[in-house]
């Protein structure tokens, strides 16, 4: 069974892209950290990341982990959001041939995985081509 407590703990990041911005040097930590890796400050403010960005790089998954096997082949990319933060996510709703490095994407709210037939549904972010 999926770890329900862990899923619940990560909701601010997975649902709303909440990050920690260092109030001393401006470094954005996603997911948030306790200590800034740049200036060692412990003071952060909570911000919501941009929901637009571009594809930095990507790969096509043809042999996946068991819970994603019905979705293969699918694309996983590293997206650079407009505020400079990078995150790894699926790029969906397109012919795989349309995906190119540099193309603009927006972040959408999607179901990421299901815990079998009876467990919880896990939601989060994915990217679609603009």
């Amino acid at each position: 069974m999926k770890n329900v407590a862990r899923y619940h703990r990560e909701i601010p990041q997975r649902y709303r892209l909440e990050a920690g911005k260092c109030t001393n040097c401006g470094y954005i930590a996603f997911p948030p950290r306790l200590i800034c890796p740049k200036c060692k400050s412990k003071k952060f403010e909570t911000i919501r990341l941009s929901d637009e960005g571009k594809i930095l790089t990507y790969t096509i998954i043809r042999v996946s982990a068991e819970q994603f096997s019905k979705q293969t082949p699918f694309a996983v990319g590293i997206i650079e959001l407009n505020d400079g933060v990078r995150l790894t996510t699926q790029i969906v709703d397109t012919d795989l041939n349309n995906i190119e490095i540099g193309k603009k994407v927006k972040i959408v709210f999607r179901k990421v995985q299901e815990d079998g037939k009876a467990g919880i549904l896990c939601y989060g972010y994915k990217a679609v081509l603009v």
């Binding site: 709303r16 699926q90 012919d95 709210f109 179901k111």
Partner: protein
Amino acid sequence: MIGIVGYGAYLPRYRIKAETIAQQWGSDPESIKRGLLLNEKTVPGQDEDTITISVEAAKNALKRARINPQEIGAVYIGSESHPYAVKPSGATLVDALGIGPHVHVASYEFACKAGSEAMYVAYSHVKAGEMKYALGIGADTSQGAPGDALEYSASAGGAAFIMGKENVIAEILFTHSFTTDTPDFWRREGEFYPRHAGRFTGEPAYFKHILGAGRALLEKSKLSPKDFKYAVFHMPNGKFPQEVGKKLGFTKEQLETGWIVPWMGNTYSGSSPTGLAAILDEAKPGDLIFMVSFGSGAGSDGFILKATDELPKVQNLAPKVRDLLNNNKIYLNYGEYAKFRKKIKVNE
């Protein structure tokens, strides 16, 4: 003034054509297209459901309303395909959009009119002075059994409406509801596909209830069909809304803008609300809009709305329904569609 302060729609990018379904079951594509006036329908992606569709529609509504989500006091999602049997869809939505936790949330269900029900209650809360804003959503990933006539229409999408008193874009002038026990369409607990009573879904169900609510609304408002610029009715297929519009005295021109069913299909709880969103995309200040939903079981909710001077300011702040319908389409063959809709038995 009380009414809609922000609206938004969402439709998945996947489509299946009516002829693709007809060919699968050995039916004549032309007679299906002519009989039901359906060309194609939306299909949800494998990672889309009522919750994700509601979130995307509500995001668009928030873009148009330009309000602080924290000021929304109630969130209601109407659907007959809530992903959980027990766990409210709206709880996920409020956390996704930064609404709450001080918010009243409920899942509504009334076949295809659950969306207008959510709008109705959201509006009533604001009217009663209970809260500043309330959000009502109709969204579905509709089920239709393979080979059944419903398979040509059952589609996915939704629309969200934020009700309020300030910067109203469409004032709600009158409402009316009409309900009786009419077993025209149902799904028993634990069943995957709904059942329907064939032709009984027409005259004693769809037509009786829409005409009941529609005529009462006209009487209440002392308006006549010619006073309206637009009208939209629940769209189970292309034909029914045109027929019921004609019976009430509306012309084809008044129905045209909201009549999106030939390219969208029947999004169940999202049907007439998304038609209303398509009208709000184009309406001009002063235009009167007539809307009546229908939910099997059976009942109808009616609204008379008037576009205000604020509407043109927000129309371009989020994607329009026609753009969602026409852009980025991905066509599926029947096999892909069957996989997407989990119609194929697989080992877990």
